[in-house]
Symmetry: D2
Subunit: 362 residues, 4 copies
């Protein structure tokens, strides 16, 4: 699977995007490992990296097989409470795991940082930047391929993150967890994109908090904001859940968050539509966030296989658009072996006492 020259010979993230290639991101770690029994909802901390490394390795492997070109390090978010060196050990181990699996395929390692509670509490730029710097030190030592500043609710903090990260001299991507209404200070998606690019991000977009179609609406606004002269690659990593009803805060405000989201889970066919629409919009870095299971990532890679010219490894275990049912003994199941069937299916919830939409808590 790996090119002959080994990992060092891999093309970098910007080289790929500048070539017009599609970069397939990876998917959900926190929620997926919560369901597998290794991460605690509410805390969402990644000690599993040292406690149960096989569980993390296995999930990385599944995303790699599904077609991911990026292994994001499963690292602690910055926190001044993490003063002990423990989190540094975890983060270093996370980098090693990501590198190990990336080496088995055509994937890069990305070191990720996200918003801090410090920002919310005191908005002290120096202190917040110091937290980012400490995380960056580990990524520098472990020589990740590029950096992602992700899951920021405030453009201001995201800009600080980009300013810290860019100092390493590696490509920086920046994604915010905002919807079409913009960030928590009322900065619109277009303005956010402009700020991030001006701060030094080469790739901008959104991740988490909002479902596939809502995330693409936000991307349209970001793209429009950048139209006036600024150059950046576009990136989207939406939830694997449908959230047409969520407010400005996204899915965390929905009553189903985080342990009743099942009926909102996207099908693989939903994700193929998402990948196609993202592509049409000009987004070339396409992945997922919470709720994106390996088969959702595979759906991106399969939808865009015609453009890319190849299929992901895990497609050898997948009959695209149900084609593997075409020999089924039951004729009504054979009838499902076609794209039109699955594209038009409106799947029932099996829950007649439940509504279709919820009122967000705020």
């Amino acid at each position: 699977m790996a090119p002959a020259g080994g990992p060092r010979a891999k093309k970098g993230i910007l080289e790929r995007l500048e070539n017009g290639e599609v970069v397939v991101g990876d998917g959900s770690f926190l929620l997926t490992l919560e369901k597998r029994g290794y991460v605690k909802a509410g805390l969402w901390t990644p000690e599993v990296v040292v406690e149960y490394p096989n569980a993390v390795r296995q999930l990385h492997m599944e995303f790699l097989r599904a077609g991911s070109n990026v292994m994001q390090t499963f690292t602690f978010s910055a926190s001044e409470d993490n003063k002990e060196s423990k989190w540094e050990d975890v983060n270093a181990a996370a980098c090693d795991l990501a590198r190990e699996v990336a080496g088995k395929g055509d994937a890069l390692v990305a070191g990720g940082i996200c918003q801090t509670s410090a920002y919310t509490h005191h908005k002290d730029e120096a202190r917040v930047k110091q937290l980012f710097q400490r995380q960056l030190d580990v990524f520098a030592r472990k020589n990740v391929d590029f950096l992602i500043a992700e899951y920021f609710e405030h453009a201001e903090e995201a800009v600080w993150a980009v300013e810290v990260l860019k100092a390493l001299g590696k490509p920086v991507a920046a994604t915010m967890c905002i919807g079409p209404d913009g960030d928590m200070h009322g900065v619109s998606p277009g303005e956010c994109a402009v700020k991030l690019v001006k701060a030094g991000a080469a790739i901008v977009g959104v991740n988490c908090r909002f479902g596939p179609s809502t995330s693409l609406k936000t991307m349209k606004l970001m793209k429009a904001g950048l139209a006036a002269g600024l150059e950046a690659h576009l990136m989207v990593q939406s939830l694997g859940f449908h959230t047409p009803d969520c407010g400005k805060g996204g899915f965390v405000d929905l009553p189903e968050y985080p342990s009743g989201l099942e009926p909102r889970a996207a099908t693989r066919w939903d994700i193929q539509k998402y990948a196609r629409e993202a592509y049409k919009l000009g987004v070339r870095y396409i992945g997922g966030c919470c709720g994106f299971e390996p088969y959702h990532i595979r759906a991106i890679a399969e939808e865009l296989a015609p453009e890319r010219g190849f299929w992901p490894p895990a497609s050898d275990k997948h009959g695209s658009w149900g084609s593997s049912f075409n020999m089924h003994t039951k004729p009504w199941i054979r009838a499902r072996a076609r794209r039109e069937y699955w594209e038009n299916l409106l799947p029932a919830s099996g829950r007649p006492f439940c509504p279709s939409l919820s009122q967000p808590d705020v």
Copy 2:
């Protein structure tokens, strides 16, 4: 985790049930490994056991941590096409994997066989029984702890399976994939249960094809059928999907099968209700089938922790009933840190263009 005396000192399945203990089964292999990228929908064959043993080992580990007391071997179903020795190698490897993981906790290994296409084609008792016998030979050689005849649509074939399996002298459980309307020949659940017990099954029940509440309706009818003097332990391993709308054939006839079932997926809270109701009904072997992820198995173990006196290992990564949200910064999320909240939640599908129920294809 393992008792001091090692695996050999473990209590057998019947000893546990006769003591009145709850035995927690395991969950979904085929559908779960399909989503992880290792099993092909339509074929549903378990070569992954030899191709990617780590993926199977990891899933066994997740179920063990979630509280499973049984590791079912992930083995090929019988087929006269499997004449080459390949399937025997796979099945032997599957037994080894199950035994390896079972040894890390308080779990037994169960060898499972299921219905044959041979039965459907010619109903030749001798040929069908020979297929069962060949599978049994591997289980005998690998010294599994007990045997499960599962996923039978016809009581007659299930009886044949029990007759073959019991010859090994190990306990035999038998579950059918039927709903309240009975088997495909019109044999009622009560009659099926009687036939299976008379044939030699010590444990009877249902698995797969129907969701939690439908499966429990069938169990009530089985229990009623056995009321007249016959003794057997009861076992249920339902789908992890809600299927109030499916007909006699179960979920395979629903238009969403198998790649659009997402909105039907049970929450952990749904499964706690299922575990409680199964327990009240007198069922003591409680597990799951397709769609049962590790966290669903953990939900069974947590719901019945008061009766059993202990929690499953994975509960150290779980705040039961959302208790881990009680320190959340947002008050409306803290308000979710209580049983009443999740018990009463009616989760929305986020899909206003989709119905609640589907018409089965037959």
Copy 3:
């Protein structure tokens, strides 16, 4: 419209049914006049007959035009509280109104009585029968064409009603407001039907409390109960609301009763299906109860127009199956001018925060 010989020349109810003719009943008075502003929900008393006779006359006319062959008198139900003569005046006026409108078309007048609160309170046969007798005296004086004992929850009281009514020597129909689970004492639909026929009813069936498809399920059970030798004509007058979720008590136990039932209202196409299925089942007296508006009655008459050989008067203001849209300027509305379109339409509720089904209060 009226045959040359005038009302006296009309065929009687039994003559029609014995000829194999379809008799179209009428629809909802209480709920319809409540919405028009003339009847108070909760009390449901018909003083409107004397207070606003035009409102009642108009509704009778609408049902007549829609195709009803029966004008049911809009009369007070029996109550020992109604000792003053007021109710007798109302009931006499109601008979006159029904007769007046019936005279304008091919309709008969039916005097209706229903269950008493006296039965619930003391179950004193003599007192209950006396109440029925007092109502019957008015009907006798006003010379109604036949009698209907309707809306009985208990077969025992319905039998008493039939016993009183048959003494007049006119045909007696008897319908109960029960579902497939039978009456409030646990008497099955089949047994109820047998009791009513043995008591002297020439026509038996169900009315009110349950929606179209549920009412037909009950009719199947009644028909099966009568299969063993007893002869009776079958009659169904279901709700105009869908109630798949209601329990034994019917729609009054649903949380939407009586002022939130709107989203459950049947379309005209639903009623055409109901009429067709009732006809196939052998039911020949087909009408409606609460929620049946004039256009629902017309839908019965239109669906069965091929069998009957004529259309109801109001069909001159109706393009059957949307045929009147076939000249619409918008092509997508012209596309609705066909039976297939409306038969297959699954109408949305426009209410994504509402569920599909409710839990009954008991």
Copy 4:
């Protein structure tokens, strides 16, 4: 009910609005009379006025009793095909009927005109205005109290209508059948309002095509458009159906239009919310259009009874907020005798195979 001085002493429409009084409009004629059997869907022509005047008189009476202060004439819309004098006779008769019923209470007579197919075909101002003039001539002769130009998709044509109508010297109201996206030429609601006021309308707003909450969104935009100096009274007459899913063209594009709209029908409680929100927004002329039955109009009058100081006549047959259930024998129905119950009810559709929302046809 009528003030001592007789109809001539009634306050005019502007006098009422300038006093800050609430004017309750009337409701649905076309769809309501279609269901009663007197108007043909698709044609929607009001010959019933001469064919079955009692049916029209009765509906006017119901709205009057429900609290309407306006009787809109049930008149033909303009059409060059209506060259024969027939439509003039119908329109004159319609004026007489409206006047007759208005005389029985505190209601005014409004002559209404709406958009023409002529506009769509050739946009010839002179010809279109001539059509309006011919209708106006009848209204002048019959001395209606004020005029309404309603159901216009294009601001341009609505302006022409206002220009014709104002020549009579009576107050002119103008409502468009547009949603928040504006008219069919892309003129925004705010701009439409400005044009109508500048043309001479004293009252502006929306009617038909969109449900209660959507119509109020449009009203907000109209109000905002008028904020810059222009003075006008606001008026809303929404559908009695929920249409959150309809596109720019409104409910006619929904697949349920016009004969499958039942599940979308508003409850009386929905309309109380609508009346309250309209009032809060500053709208003082509040009525309804298609789907508004008499009890919906009553709901407006009851919701605003505290502000107005009186209840509509039909409230003597209504226990507001279910208060008439407070003596019911069943405790769970007594529990429905309170505002909180009905305000919070989320009524089920009873249709689990139907979605919540539809895709409009365009």
